[in-house]
């Protein structure tokens, strides 16, 4: 059963709510899109759109935010797919230069551990991006974000049963894709 890592009690203050989800939202978008800048843009746009709902009860912010972010990720994923096809037709290759700040070593961390984590992160992202979209969304929201089934269903716009089905298939597929982890 997935753990509940997301805040169980919604933040009353809107800024505090965004602050509590922004890092996890970025990491989720990064895993789904495989592109750091796209992920940052997706989170920023999701925040802007959520502001329109800030007068709603605070309990609604969580499913609304993940629903908006999921939609942002889906839109970008489609655009990137088209862009890659166009680039392939034109015979060009997209250069994804890493952010220099991202490459700065953390002085308090073991470099070997950091390297292993970076490799594992890349493998997890690659495996997730090979999943069908709905399975990927269910895994990211339910398993990694720690939303409960009802919140995941609200964010995905489907029933609880569909969430369980997508999640079960995603976990089975990832178990195969991530064999190398063990």
């Amino acid at each position: 059963m997935p753990f509940d890592a997301a805040p169980s009690l919604p933040a009353v203050d809107f800024d505090a709510f965004l602050a509590s989800v922004e890092r996890r939202a970025f990491r989720m978008a990064e895993l789904a899109l495989g592109h750091r800048e796209d992920a940052l843009d997706a989170v920023q746009d999701a925040m802007v759109k959520l502001v329109a709902y800030r007068d709603r009860p605070a309990a609604e912010w969580t499913p609304l935010f993940w629903s908006i972010l999921r939609s942002q990720v889906t839109d970008r994923h489609r655009r990137n797919t088209v862009r890659r096809k166009v680039m392939a037709v034109l015979g060009r290759r997209e250069d994804e230069a890493a952010d220099p700040l991202e490459m700065l070593p953390d002085p308090g961390e073991d470099p070997a551990r950091r390297h292993a984590d970076a490799q594992a992160w890349a493998a997890l992202g690659k495996a997730l991006r090979q999943l069908p979209r709905r399975q990927r969304e269910a895994y990211l929201l339910r398993e990694l974000q720690g939303l409960d089934v009802a919140e995941t269903a609200a964010a995905m716009g489907c029933s609880d049963g569909s969430v369980k089905t997508h999640l079960s298939r995603a976990m089975a597929a990832l178990r195969t894709h991530l064999e190398d982890w063990r």
Binding site: F14, F26, R27, V48, D117, R182
Partner: protein, 123 residues
């Protein structure tokens, strides 16, 4: 009831742990960008007019210009309506033609003829 697959749990537990570490240890560049995005998202934005407002204003301006061109100016005196209710006005050309066909001698004779009154004929 089947026993849970221990390998499955370990893989997904590893994925959760990795996700947690990645979220906690965000690089400074991304953390800064996210903070800035959060603050900018909450700034009041200039209210944009809906797209139909400029179009409506343009249509209203065109209508006003059309009315101003079509209607007579407010200071001009209105012409009196000389038409008799229930009758169509006779065109001027037709009236002239009718008068031209009349004999003017008849009207001269009529002016000189005696007029009958209660006191007798008036010369």
């Amino acid at each position: 009831m089947s026993r849970p697959d221990p390998r499955r749990d370990r893989v997904h537990d590893d994925a959760r742990d990795l996700f947690e570490r990645a979220s906690e240890r965000l690089d400074q560049g991304a953390a800064f960008r996210l903070r800035r995005a959060r603050h900018e998202a909450q700034q009041p934005r200039p209210r944009r007019l809906p797209a139909f407002v400029p179009a409506g204003a343009f249509a209203a301006a065109v209508l006003a210009l059309g009315l101003a061109w079509w209607l007579p100016p407010a200071g001009a005196p209105a012409l009196p309506d000389t038409r008799v209710a229930g009758t169509d006005p006779v065109p001027t050309t037709e009236l002239d033609a009718l008068l031209a066909e009349e004999d003017p001698e008849v009207y001269l004779w009529l002016a000189d003829a005696p007029v009958a009154t209660a006191m007798g004929p008036r010369p």
